[in-house]
Amino acid sequence: MADLLPPLMAAQVDAKTKVDEKVDYSNLPSPVPYEELHREAFMSLKADNFEGLRFDFTKALNQKFSLSHSVMMGPTEVPSQSAETIKIPTAHYEFGANYFEPKLMLIGRVMTDGRLNARLKADLTDKLIVKANAQITNEPHLSHAMFNFDYMGSDYRAQLQLGNSALIGATYIQSVTNRLSLGGEVFWAGVPRKSGIGYAARYESDKMVATAQVASTGAVVMNYVQKISEKVSLATDFMFNYFSRDVTASVGYDYILRQARVRGKIDSNGVASALLEERLSMGLNFLLSAELDHKKKDYKFGFGLTVG
């Protein structure tokens, strides 16, 4: 009897691990939201490089409520007809208020020129989330708002988007196996009368993430992120537009160290950029950003401090 028991237990343990490796199709995990499909790749490749000075001060009044003051000074680009970029030095101050609760999140930012940027996220039930995002200006016809309704099923997510000037979109993403999720989106815009459809796929394991997205606007985006260790990850990205024949490939890295985080990338358009965030002490972060565009001969450097 004693001889029989250990082999049975061993067999049970083996069977259990085999079941874990085999996909349990009735119990798939929830996929990432459709708009966050490329989030690992964009963390390294689309870091927010800035130009000039940036100072952000966040003051927490209690656990849920905080106020923020931010000052930004530097040249901002103005779209121009000619190939040269025109930069105008500007300075602005932005006041913000944030309220975070498990079921409700409100973020508001107002600038000195009267522009309001408002965001709301509310969990109506534990499966239905409503999000709203609005930019309101004093000038007429330049404000826009977008409302999203997200429904999270057991292994799928569906989202409906309603926008300002008759913009309607819907996305759907489904977990097909533990690692692969497929999704699609469809949108219809009223003002330039066009509609589009797109498909996306995402394959992830705990060391890598690969995604691909095709849209009827002609954009194809593919990216791959490899997590080399806890501190280092590398990402590469390839986008092309089959109507306008624009191609861009980029390679980037993301080093998460104890006191600092460095992200950088180099592009096939001749752009090399990097962003350093260093934690000087508790709550005090120092930022350095550099972006060199060798093709357009545009060099941008920025520095900043974030408190709180």
């Binding site: 009044l61 209690n62 409520f65 006041f95 913000g96 309220y99 409100l106």
Partner: protein
């Protein structure tokens, strides 16, 4: 005479039908106008009231912060 009377009544009938169809059009226009008016008012209300709303909700959450903490820069 009768023909003219009938023509007149026909004309009146057409006129009244025309008026009712323009009434239907104006009902739809009234709904569009009303929704435009309410969206404009909602935009102005959000523009001026969103940040005060967040501050009011935040000041009433617990633990309740006091006014000095709201206004002081430290």
């Amino acid at each position: 005479m009768e023909s003219t009377i009938s023509l007149k009544t026909k004309g009146k009938g057409k006129g009244s039908k025309g008026a009712s169809s323009s009434d239907d059009k104006s009902k739809f226009d009234i709904v569009k106008e009303w929704s435009n008016w309410s969206l404009k008012k909602a935009k102005v209300a959000t523009h001026y009231g969103f940040i005060p709303l967040i501050i009011i909700i935040g000041m009433n959450s617990d633990p309740k912060p006091n006014l000095f903490q709201l206004l002081s820069p430290v």
